[in-house]
């Protein structure tokens, strides 16, 4: 596992953008946080990103919208969806659409780490 893999966080909630990168850094990742899908697409991190932690519900382009856009651009980045919306049917739908994982806020450190590992293994398979 390369120690400095780039993980990008896209969430419109500032408290997530504040807390999550710090934890990921403690895990040893390089982290970039974006407040919207559009901001992420516009950055030069798209090709560098090894794992995308993506909020589902956002103003403007939603998480699934960004996922579709990346597929269209043939940017095959493993995605871990996060959502504060604990509805049962969301996770199977997201996994079916190709997500690595779908975490319900609040999620545990362990669940996050497991999801990240799965994502990075996918990277290596690719």
């Amino acid at each position: 596992m390369p120690i400095c893999s780039l993980v990008s966080v896209v969430d419109d909630d500032e408290s997530v953008r504040e807390s999550l990168p710090d934890l990921l850094k403690e895990f040893g990742f390089t982290v970039q946080a974006f407040s919207s899908a559009e901001e992420f697409l516009a950055s030069d991190c798209v090709t560098q990103t090894k794992c995308l932690i993506l909020d589902i519900a956002m103003p403007g382009m939603t998480g699934p919208d960004l996922q579709q856009e990346l597929i269209r651009r043939r940017q095959d980045i493993p995605i871990v969806f996060i959502t504060a919306h604990g509805e049962d049917n969301v996770r199977p739908r997201m996994l079916k659409e190709g997500a690595v994982e779908c975490l319900f806020k609040p999620f545990s450190e362990a669940a996050l780490l497991t999801a990240l590992n799965t994502a990075l293994q996918l990277n290596e398979l690719n």
């Binding site: 419109d12 909630d13 408290s15 504040e18 909020d55 609040p106 545990s108």
Partner: protein, 1008 residues
Amino acid sequence: MEHGAGSTGAQDDPERAGDAKALPAGEAQFRGILDGIPGLVITAAGTGELELFNAPVLEFFGKTPEELRNWTISGIVYPDDLPRLIEVFTVSMSTGCPYDLEYRLRRFDGVYRWFHGRALPLRASDGRILNWCFLLTDVEDRRRAEALLASENRLLEMVAGGVSIPKILDELCRLVEDTATGSYCSVVLVDSTGTQLEHGAAPSLPSTFIKAIEGRPVNVDSGPCAMAAYLNEQVISTDIASETRWAAYEWCPMALAHGLRSCWSTPISSTTGRVLGAFAIYYTEPKTPTTEDQVLIGQFTHIASIAIERQRSQTSLTLALDELKTSEGRLRTIIDAIPGLVWSAAPDGNVDFLSQPWCDYTGVSMEESGGSGWAKTLHPEDAERLTTYWPSLLASGQPGEFEARFRHFDGSCRWFLVRAVPLHDETGQIIKWYGLNTDIEDRKRADSLLAGEKRLLEMVASSTPLALILEDLCKFVEATVSECYCSVLLVDPTRTHLQHAAGPSLPASFNASVNGLPLIVESGPCATAVCLNEQVIAADISLDTRWEQYAWCPMALANGLRACWSTPISSTTGMVLGIFAIYYTEPRTPTSWHQALIGQFTHIASIAIERAQGEAALRRSEAFLAKAQRLSSTGSFSWRVATGEITWSEQAYRIFGLSPALPVTLELIGSRVHPEDIPLMHDMVARAQAGQDFEYEHRLQMPDGSTKYLHMLAHGTVDREGQTEYIGAVQDVTERRLSEEALSKVRSELAHVARVTSLGAMTASIAHEVNQPLSGIITNASTCLRMLAANPPNIEGALETARRTIRDGNRASDVITRLRALFSKKEVVSEALDLNEATREVVALSLRDLQRSRVILRSELANDLPSVTGDRVQLQQVILNLLRNASDAMAGIKDRPRELVIKTERDECDHVRLTVQDTGIGLEGQGVDKLFEAFYTTKSNGMGIGLSVSRSIIENHRGRLWAAPNDGPGATFSFSIPRGPGAVTGANSLGAMRTRAVTDATRVMGNP
């Protein structure tokens, strides 16, 4: 004493002065008496020089004493009478003999009046004449009356004496000209075709004038007389010179050319109302008829009509009878066809001819009736009168008439008007009497019925007690229908029994037996009539087998009754009120005349009974109403908006704490209305003027400083004149309001929870709001642990994350604190809807709350609004939220009306816009966007979810919601959504909406 007895210019005569001093009352009193005499008093010196005039003299003539002294030349005496007066005056002055003469004097206004003037000398002891005293008495009215009477008599004599019509009318004109000084009279007749005027009489008018009138068509244009005859109304031309009518026929220039300046034309009508002609009075000066003139005109036109009519009918009768003599066979049939009994008699009064109808009517042959045989058919009561009148008429040789009853062959009697006219030969000898008896029975009956009905209705109208009216009614019918007995029975209030009401001529025992009979068909004819609501005829009680069970027939027979006709008296609504019964001591069946009579009198009885019962019921219900109003603290009022007439019930006065003596005005009401509620009252007045019904809650400020809460409701009705009248109730709801307010905190919380509960979108929102901070807490705590576990531990980083953990924990706690209610899920439905209708529903639901908050609501809903597609309940939640926010924003406003305008309209890009404008505290410079953040609130007890959710809902409808400050006070909130169909996004609209709602709230949460 300019105008009084002191107006003397004479030298003081010592002797006269002495006489005056001798009066015990003194000079002043003497003058007072003189001025007070209701007559004109003038004194003159012994030589005839006028000296002193009392006040009435000066008032009458309106001239100065100097002018009066020159009476022979100053025009105060009518020119025709002056020479005679001067002659008599001169003789008296020279001989000392008193005189006594009638002559006309000119009043100040130019009107001449007849006076009786007497001159008396006042002599000294030696016989020398000291003074003359003239007493002038106004005899105009007496002369007119006398002249009228004399003229009338004279004319009527002429009419009766068969004088030709032109002579009578000539005389009539002359008599009027004599009576009305300076007048010229004419009579024109309407010809037999009714289309042209023909000459009647005009003895003093120029023949060219008469010629110019003759043959003019009877219409409004050809002249005043033609116009009067055409319209059958008086036509007055006070000044022909300034007259504009009749120009088409140039009548005015023609009349002016003959020296005439005024004309008063009055139609002459027959007794049947047909216009026979016109009577006209002309003057050579402009003149308006006085009351006396009108009396004169009235009397003479009446005489003229009699003369013309009588002449015409007499002519036709005489003609018929004359022809009879010459051509008996043919004309006898004509005579017999005359609808009257025609007869003729010899000069000695022996009847020598009777027409066939006479014989048919009386059933007595011509032979038996001849001579004086006819008298046997007279009603005994009339026979005596006629047998004295007839010889006296014969002796007078004058025409005459007489009313008498003649017996029909069946024994009944009918009234006839007997007219007899003598026929004279060339020498004036009476050669024959002709007569016509006209049947006037129906008229007599009708007259007497009418008089009776009138009297009864007057009694009803004047609220005479019912018993008296009914008694009078019975007596009247008994007087009209011979040999009958009447009674009236009423249905008792429980509708189980008959009650005796009137039966003045029936035996008391009979009335007592009938009183209280049960209302069943078996108990007697009257009860049967009530039960069946139809007339019950017992033509012969002795043969009747009905009512056996109650032995009614034997009871009636024992009271001497043999026939009974019972007729129900029904109210206007068809309910039987009672019975009108007619009894006979002989078997009888009602004729159609009887039935007509019964119909009329049961009708009058029903009016009387209904009115009496209605009045009693009204008194009762008024008392009930007053009591009910008092018990329920409810007053009633009526308000005619156009006239401002307001009527209050007693209780309404009590509620307002005002004296019932005060007339109610809006000002008076305004004096009691709480100052803060005056705008509400103005709004109410405006609504009323627009003809809308209204319902308000407002406060009164009582003089003792206390506050009353009133609930008022008014409904407008439009009366027959098209005027709006509001009938309303006003209730004192103070007690209710006070207890309501005590509960208001509890309720507002409940209402708030209920408001939020109904929002489906909030379920998701809550989970989101709670999960976000929890997520932060857990992530931060994990980071913190890792930082502390590192070697070396990252203390600074750990402290920072720990602080974030606490902050997010507090935030979560805040969320939990605020979300005190559970949110339930609700199905979201997308449908085509009328935003106006949805708005009206919300307004209707909010109206009471708004009024309670003293908010004046104005709706301006566009008529042509296209429908939108969306969730009706959600959109209504948004509208409700906007209305509540607006109302809340105005809660603290005291210095201006709390006005709220809700408006719908088309917006650009096929959108529909709804706007809510208030006059509240406004946006106060805070970030407008901040308003829409969840939990952002300016309200002490608000949760702040409303606007945020509202915006989510609107955005889910692909619309937008925004706020803007007003130019004046307050703010305006609007939303604009696209018109349907397909307004709600996404195939799975449920999911899509949820997601979007969350999105919005998420953004807000991210920017604390």
